[in-house]
């Protein structure tokens, strides 16, 4: 897997650093779900700080990944969406309506901690 998936406590963190091809995006989705099962993580942070483009396909992959993880009882939070990406997504009409987003990893971790059931 070209994109490293890290684990901090019970949260998986994946930082997307390159322009993903469709194949790579799908493979990342699959790997994330696999890692969720393997590690028993309760949350996933997908860091989009370095992502310059989110087109309709990428937006769909991210949305579906969050939905698939939710079916498995795991919360996905997107962090670090850049202003240019946010503007483009809203104009394109593919912004993330139902997926929580946070400004950065730290806020994302806090968010997940608060969502954790005791």
């Amino acid at each position: 897997m070209e994109i490293p998936i890290l684990k901090i406590k019970d949260v998986l963190i994946v930082s997307i650093q390159l322009d993903l091809s469709d194949k790579l995006a799908l493979s990342l989705q699959q790997e994330l779900l696999k890692q969720i099962t393997k590690t028993g993580a309760f949350g996933v942070l997908i860091d989009l700080t370095a992502v310059e483009i989110v087109d309709s396909f990428m937006s769909r992959i991210l949305t579906e990944t969050a939905q698939m993880a939710a079916v498995m009882g795991v919360k996905v939070v997107l962090v670090g969406i850049q202003p240019a990406v946010a503007m483009t997504m809203v104009e394109l009409g593919v912004y993330f309506k139902d997926i929580p987003t946070c400004r950065n990893l730290e806020k994302g971790l806090d968010y997940l901690e608060n969502k954790k059931l005791p």
Binding site: S56, A84, V94
Partner: protein
Amino acid sequence: MDNSKSNIEIATESDVVQVRQVGRELSRKLGFGLTDQARITTGISELARNILLYAGSGQIILQVVEDQGRRGIEILAEDKGPGIVCLEQAMTDGFSTSRGLGVGLPGTKRLMDELYIESSVGIGTRVVARKWLN
């Protein structure tokens, strides 16, 4: 070599990645800000995807254009695919003949300053989109 014009064949998904990168670079060189670079690159990506999805292959020509003293980027996306049966429908948000999100054409139109489509069923489709520097 005229480096203000690039012709990219679109036949595989890695071509979509490539045309995005060429588009981003060209718009950056032209002097577009980060947001417009994102808009242009995303627009190019959507048009390239449409080619792959509906026609299987085609080409995208990116070039610098000039009009009354202002400069801009022009995206020409063409294919010899099945063509669009109803242009009006195709330009409606949410409409899709694939299982896609259906934001391709109307979404791209919102990102760009100009977008024109010519299409003939059984012959092909040609989309021209332009974005101008302020």
